[in-house]
Subunit: 403 residues, 2 copies
């Protein structure tokens, strides 16, 4: 059986779907404020869509489950995030815009401090600065020599964090962390979890001992701890599943990376909200699905900054007419998960969504777009992976099921 | 894949979840009354929770499915009742507080009347009185001798109903009923449904013929019909699934039994509603999940006594402050199924639920707690098995899924 019945029915036409995703959009009332940021924000442009819209609440994974960025976006793109797991190392690679190939094995690493007996004394190497990190990564790229059928590529992330890629053929990706998650012990050996990953483990061990040799005169960062070792998961392309020629308009590397992972074309990164919305309104007519990503709502939520979240939403609303210049047949406005300012983190609360489709929608009578309004909306409460097929239906892109 | 993603993410903290379960809570308007018992009941204490609550309607099994006590409670405890079937014999054992062991085979039985040709003339032996039942069960326990690798234990239930347990090793539990569900024919032979249960079937047949020998001079109760032959299902413990150190406060044996089946610690049975709520408010801090069971709402529904159901709900509300002394971080108030007074039986109508979590909830703006208010609540309409994971999320007991 297909993961979604819509896959069996997807057809091409010239209608266009836009997903405007405000990251971490869902929220809670905060302190003495009785409304969520979305409820409090003045959004006159979104409000004009309501007479041609239906709304609802969506669970990115399952009710009660807090998703990371990977599962949150896979849900938006119509995938069941429980069946497609993106490893940490892969996500790190996506997050620095590294062009990961299907056969690459990626791992994130921490620089760490080792004592003379090779025992870990600091798992984060005193949180070295970014410029030190970059200097050490340059050294590693210059000097690491591992004899074997794979190339080693090292990249800075930030502070004590980096990423390593083994590039070669026939490398398995199932290797356990070498980070023992504690101090006073030696780093673990890379341990393959299957036969195909034996060579990968051996090469990663060699890389780590080479790195220790090269870093031996460093005060703090004289060792490496590997985590989240993995290959790109075999995710079917969004075009193959839903017959969508899809593109992404996103400023942040991680979201461009996830979009690339499902086979979207990734356009040049826009600068800010205004630029994002303008670019999204000008996308070439060859694309029939446009993923538009706004990061700043999530950042405000993570920072516990209710007021900034309100103003980001208002800024998005202000520039909505620029996006609407692209004349989407279906426009969905939603988030990938909730990031309540009160909790300063992602949360499990279901995500409000609005679907505007002037030709085909059954308007639900909503008078505003907010979490509490959505709870009585026409789409009810559904798993997020249904939202894309619902949008495809409203764009008349799905054939009838059965006779 | 885990039955619920929450199982992969469950962590321990010091927050406490309480499930206050009014058995058969859901109902219908009745006669000329326009409101359900829950809507009609004056519940000032529950009402004070509403500003920090979210509500919804829950299906114990699937929409349209009327659950028994077993499936109803399994749903509440986060289990899919379609995957964990509790046999009738096992439920009967739980219902009389019989300490069933994992290797025991349990069956319920009816005393029946057999004529001289061993044809059944009354499947309920004229509904003999409880004291007759007890006398006969004592006789059976004294005199039944079956040679074999298992002990036979017989117990009274009530009227014509009893329970028999085979205690031994390597006894399969898959044997068909011997009750032909009709009169004028002989009782069926116990028929094993798999190889492992051949011995069980043989011993049950022996038990039945021994019983007929011992009961041969009885007027009415001179035979036995076996039903619901089964072993305890291999249900994973709630602590293993959700990292909850769980206990149960329940007056009635069956609910204590179901709680024990999923690995809860069962506290001494309280006397009445007041005692139940008081005990629930004083449970030791070592428990982070407390299942509190009130039977009387269901009894009133089964009796078709709308007014008594209203007054039980009001009584529970009156004693809610005693329960709140335990300072739950998350309090869920719900039922295991609906038992409409108008139908005098369990029903399929979805069950109203309120989740109070002052620190983490998205309040849904409910002005009252009732079936119709819940239908526009923030939790929407969900399968009951999601309610426990949602409560765990609100108690911050679930880690993030994916990066």
């Amino acid at each position: 059986m297909a993961e979604h019945t819509a896959e069996l029915l997807a057809t091409k036409n010239d209608k266009r779907i836009v997903f405007l995703v405000m990251d971490g959009l869902g929220d809670l009332p905060f302190g003495r404020r009785k409304r969520t940021p979305l409820e409090a924000a003045k959004t006159p442009n979104i409000d004009t869509l309501l007479p041609h819209s239906t709304t609802g609440l969506f669970d990115p994974v399952e009710p009660g489950i807090t998703p990371g960025a990977g599962p949150g976006h896979l849900g938006l793109f119509g995938y069941d995030p429980r069946h497609h797991i993106i490893g940490r190392g892969v996500l790190e690679a996506l997050g620095i815009d590294f062009p990961l190939e299907d056969t690459d094995v990626a791992a994130r690493f921490n620089f760490c401090t080792l004592d003379k007996d090779r025992k870990i004394t600091d798992r984060r190497a005193g949180r070295i600065k970014d410029d030190v990190n970059r200097r050490l990564v340059d050294m590693l790229n210059d000097k690491v020599k591992i004899n074997g059928p794979a190339e080693v590529i090292v990249r800075s992330v930030s502070e004590h964090r980096g990423m390593v890629v083994l590039r070669g053929e026939n490398l398995g990706g199932s290797v356990a962390d070498t980070d023992p998650q504690t101090v006073g012990v030696e780093p673990l050996h890379a341990k393959a979890r299957d036969d195909q990953s034996q060579l990968t483990a051996k090469m990663l061990d060699k890389f780590v001992s080479e790195a220790e040799r090269i870093l031996k005169d460093e005060d703090k960062a004289n060792g490496l701890l590997l985590r989240g070792i993995d290959k790109k998961p075999p995710i079917p392309r969004i075009n193959d599943r839903f017959a969508l020629n899809a593109c992404a308009v996103a400023t942040y590397p991680m979201y461009r990376g996830i979009a690339r992972l499902v086979g979207m074309t990734v356009l040049d990164p826009p600068k800010d909200v205004k630029d994002t919305m303008t670019v999204a309104g000008q996308v070439s007519s060859e694309y029939d699905y446009i993923f538009v990503h706004i990061k700043y709502t999530d950042k405000a939520g993570e920072d516990g900054d209710y007021d900034r979240k309100v103003s980001v939403i208002q800024d998005v609303d202000k520039h909505l007419p620029a996006l609407l210049k692209g004349k989407p047949d279906v426009l969905v406005i939603t988030g990938d998960h909730s990031t309540p300012a009160a909790l300063k983190s992602h949360s499990w609360h279901p995500v409000p969504a609005l679907l505007y489709a002037p030709e085909t929608v059954r308007p639900d009578g909503s008078k505003s777009f907010g979490e509490r309004a959505c709870q009585v909306g026409g789409m009810g409460r559904l798993p997020m992976r249904h939202l894309l097929p619902i949008a495809c239906a409203h764009a008349l892109k799905l054939a009838k099921f059965g006779a």
